[in-house]
């Protein structure tokens, strides 16, 4: 077998198949970040000063430091906690925390954009916190939140590429591996970029459309 093999259909196929790990990682981080983000957003606007402070610090910290460092810290931090180092779990955990902070901040804005009269009316009708949020505030906030959330999903999918640096074999890492075997970086990373583009671009267009439609439907 030659030392350097050409970049052909099998190599393309291997790279394409690695996209499923990018999608899986994005899906896990998005689901986990969705749950975490809701908690962060609610804590951020709660009446409790301590909860608010913790949520604010959490958001500041994750928005003010590189995602790559967050990945490294979780990756090496697992070792300190006595857990076996596992790139897959570390990447999923770090991206989930990252998404929680960003979605929390995005959704806080959306919840606060719901006119306060809605909350007051719900309180006047005798609804307690959970029902007030569940039936009055959150459904209205959701409508505002859809477009920026889809926009963040694009950022998250791109962010999963950094998992390659801690050694998780997703799309980018698979590209590096194939590049080391074929030494045709132009083709390999071009292909990788195209696959990311195919994943992200429809979401970007969707986010823009929804934003446009929303701004038109709410314009006076």
């Amino acid at each position: 077998m030659p030392l350097i093999r050409p970049f052909g259909l099998p190599e393309f196929w291997i790279i394409l198949m690695a996209a499923k790990w990018t999608i899986a990682l994005s899906a896990i981080a998005f689901a986990g970040g969705g749950l975490g983000g809701l908690i962060v957003a609610l804590a951020r606007i709660s009446d409790n000063r301590w909860l608010r402070g913790i949520a604010t610090a959490f958001i500041r910290l994750f928005q003010g430091t590189p995602l790559l460092m967050q990945l490294f810290l979780v990756f090496f931090g697992m070792n300190i906690l006595g857990l076996a180092i596992n790139p897959w779990i570390a990447a999923a955990a770090a991206l989930t925390l990252h998404a929680s902070a960003f979605l929390g901040e995005i959704w806080r804005g959306c919840i606060e954009a719901v006119p306060s009269g809605q909350r007051e009316a719900a309180t006047a009708l005798g609804l307690r916190y959970v029902n007030r949020m569940r039936y009055v505030v959150l459904p209205q906030a959701l409508r505002i939140a859809v477009a920026p959330t889809v926009g963040f999903l694009v950022q998250l999918i791109k962010g999963t590429s950094l998992a390659a640096i801690i050694g998780f074999t997703e799309l980018t890492r698979q590209g590096q591996i194939i590049n080391n075997a074929t030494f045709s970086p132009f083709m390999v990373f071009g292909t990788v970029a195209v696959i990311y583009f195919i994943l992200c671009w429809p979401l970007s267009v969707l986010a823009r459309r929804m934003e446009f439609r929303f701004s038109r439907s709410t314009a006076r």
Partner: protein
């Protein structure tokens, strides 16, 4: 039980500070050049010349929908096959400029579109040249409008620049990687570096707030 050992990190602090300095230089240089690219692209996009607009659209969409890590691999490993060989630091700068330029274009375009048509018509009526209109009537208020978005994009750029350590440029994250492989105090090294990035993002926010006060003090509407 794990015992933290920060001594080797403190011993290697000079390496880290050197890395941080390069991160600052890279980010600021990428912002300055990237802003020029952004203004040019935004002007091209709003010029009404279709082929120019399409070219800018393709550039912006491709960059905004692919990861920075892949962009930098493509530039550093891929471009030499076209005869364009760059040093790691050079490739890092090019990648950051290209990346910031795409996001900056969209931000500045939004600013330009926030200027009402009547303003430009008034400029024409006053006998200003097209360049004068663009410079004083469009860009000046447009930049003020989008200043907050631009500064947060810059901070994001500075944080993203840590990714250039993947092609072993000499930035802060790469200095951390080196120190980590010398000392094996991985967690300690990265926690210190993370705090350094955090301090830089707070520092830049403060600097931008001062610049905003100094540069955008002229009256908004009287």
């Amino acid at each position: 039980m794990y015992t933290f050992n920060f001594a080797p990190v403190l011993a290697g602090m000079d390496q880290l500070l050197l890395g941080a300095w390069l991160t600052i230089q890279l980010s600021v240089a990428a912002m300055v050049v990237g802003l020029i690219v952004s203004v040019a692209c935004a002007a091209a996009k709003t010029s009404g010349i279709a082929p120019l607009r399409w070219t800018v659209d393709v550039y912006v969409e491709v960059i905004r929908n692919t990861p920075f890590l892949v962009q930098i691999f493509f530039i550093f490993f891929g471009l030499p096959s076209l005869g364009l060989r760059l040093t790691p630091n050079g490739a890092a700068l090019v990648a950051l400029v290209v990346n910031f330029g795409a996001y900056g274009t969209e931000i500045i375009r939004a600013g330009i579109e926030s200027i009402q048509r009547g303003q430009m018509e008034a400029g024409t009526a006053l006998g200003l040249s097209r360049l004068q209109i663009f410079r004083y009537i469009v860009m000046k208020p447009a930049l003020r409008t989008v200043y907050p978005a631009l500064t947060s994009q810059f901070i994001y750029l500075m944080l993203t620049s840590s990714v250039v350590s993947a092609i072993s440029a000499d930035d802060l994250a790469a200095a951390g990687n080196n120190l980590q492989s010398q000392t094996f105090a991985s967690f300690e090294v990265y926690i210190v570096i993370t705090l350094m990035y955090f301090a830089m993002s707070i520092g830049f926010s403060a600097i931008f707030a001062v610049i905003e006060k100094a540069a955008f003090q002229y009256p908004l509407s009287r």
